[in-house]
Symmetry: C2
Subunit: 167 residues, 2 copies
Amino acid sequence: MARPHSYDPEIALEAAMHVFWRDGYDLASLSDLQSAMGIQRGSIYKEFGSKKELFLKALDRYVKKFVDPGIALLTQTDGSGQERIERFFELAPRDETRGCLLCSSAAGVAGTDREVRKVVFDQLARLRNAFDTALIEQVTETSNRRSEAERLTQLYIGKRVEARTAI
Amino acid sequence: MARPHSYDPEIALEAAMHVFWRDGYDLASLSDLQSAMGIQRGSIYKEFGSKKELFLKALDRYVKKFVDPGIALLTQTDGSGQERIERFFELAPRDETRGCLLCSSAAGVAGTDREVRKVVFDQLARLRNAFDTALIEQVTETSNRRSEAERLTQLYIGKRVEARTAI
DNA sequence: GTAATTGTTGATCGTTCGGTCAACAATTAC
DNA sequence: GTAATTGTTGACCGAACGATCAACAATTAC
């Protein structure tokens, strides 16, 4: 009954995610996004609402693609928790100099935007809980386990942020 | 022989450092800096050259004020290395939600500006070396010590980046 | 006093930003 | 075919950006 889409919103979002991943929220301009997504500005706004909404959807996609598999690995039941934690830290390719969109956002836009900060906080909490689950055999005392899970989360963030400084 | 300065460049730089610390490089606008520094735009440019040069000088000041004392603690000779490392991680106040300017810059502007990236990389290397020095009693094997120093550096970055997500 | 020198100001520059919208295109229902 | 509906486009908007500069202010040397 009406003109059909000429582009796939999922593919456009995927492209936007990569721009935000590489450049961060602030440096990613609408012109950059427009080029990468292959659609015009008006279509971006009709489809995604605003730059910030587009970013939040791209971040959500990033989490589904790159964080959730790690959480699934940590919380699955085969193999020892220690093994799963080691495998978790091997998930990110060594040459991925873009780091982690979630971690970079923690250092960047999350510091100034409350809504983004909440999303980042919640996702990092999910990761912390997954570490906690993986530690349940090794560390029986709850508060010790919680602080070790906290340490592992911070270690993950540090690794992925440091990756962005590679020369 | 000429008109004297009406402001103290060191105090102005200190103010700029706090703006960059809170907002990051991109979000810190010249208007913000101007207000915080208490001098007009023209004077900022005459004194510091450009926004990026001002940022690099502010980052340098940040390192001198907040990173160097930590490095000094790690590399001093009294107390055990383990003790000094523990004290290092207690240097940052728990309620410092701005995190660490060096770490935030690693996740942010360092990803897109080569010059900033080099500075951040070098300063993180100094910190890594300081951890290595503090580990010299505990870990005698060189490559083990190096990877443990790397871990501690990443843990530090993670802690300070995570601090920015506090709700 | 005057001349020379340097610091300070704020208006102004061109550019880029995120965002909007009227015109046009493509489809379905009839 | 026409009408209705929705998708797409690119020109355009005001605002904010980083940066510049001519005019003015304050000091020293004489």
